[in-house]
Symmetry: C2
Subunit: 167 residues, 2 copies
């Protein structure tokens, strides 16, 4: 394209396009050039010895059981975020951490567009729920709960297909 | 953790932690709660018939040859972003689009922390550089240029290892 279209912002130095969106200062209304981008998260499918995976019951909307995870910090690798979130939410250390797949459907989180890079790992240590009183439970592969939050039913279905050699 | 630490912001409704960072309004100095997150990009290793991959020579810093890619828009899936960027930067449609791996080293882009989900695909159509006059060239696998931008030398090395069955 020869010219940037209306509303299409580009980095002034390199010409690369910014993600679209403007935000306004809540006090004075000034447009703050904070271009909107999907928020990046990690989720971790943690297998434990003896079989089964760890799920956490959410105490806040969206309700249901979820694989552990959370937001990636600026300056943090995906792998470091996965290790940190697993420790914060389950008290476990991870070994054999591997990237599985990234999920990016804009409707996967009702709170806004998040893109999750999903990892698989083996958990070491005794799993325990975080102090903010979320429930934590180990579920055998063939007896997962019905009420899975976000797109975690799809993620786990893809994971079991991969384990069975279907993709 | 029982209490959120100082500077650790959480979504008021669900208690999930925000990525850290505050920005101030450039006019009035008000803190705008626009928490910083790594910016999400896609890059696409496009193979063409007859062998070889498409690289684009950057006209702006960081200089060098790069695999095509760009920022993911809010509300856009990773796969849609990959198709759009390939079309914008090379004029090609993609078939057999597959996720390869995500790269997240905070130093991979000197302009700021970007996380790239890298795809592989086969390109269809005649490749042509975008109007903003970037150079485009098909390189045989065994004759890549020396000056690759970002972490694209690592990405391509991983890709060739994968093709050779090393990982």
């Amino acid at each position: 394209m020869s010219e940037a279209g209306a509303g299409e912002k580009r980095f002034p130095r390199c010409g690369e396009r910014f993600p679209r969106c403007e935000e306004r200062c809540p006090r004075c209304g000034e447009i703050v050039r904070s271009y909107r981008n999907p928020l990046l998260t990690v989720d971790i499918i943690i297998e434990v010895s003896g079989g089964g995976i760890i799920l956490i019951e959410r105490k806040n909307p969206p309700f249901g059981w979820a694989i552990p995870g959370g937001f990636v910090d600026y300056g943090e690798t995906l792998e470091a975020a996965a290790m940190r979130e697993a420790r914060e939410e389950t008290g476990m250390d991870l070994v054999d951490l591997k990237q599985f797949h990234a999920y990016s459907d804009p409707k996967r989180d009702p709170r806004g567009h998040t893109v999750s890079v999903v990892f698989t790992a083996i958990g070491r240590g005794s799993p325990q729920a975080a102090d903010d009183a979320k429930n934590l439970q180990i579920f055998p592969f063939d007896r997962l709960p019905e009420n899975l939050a976000f797109d975690h039913a799809l993620i786990l279905s893809d994971y079991f297909d991969m384990k069975a050699g279907y993709n």
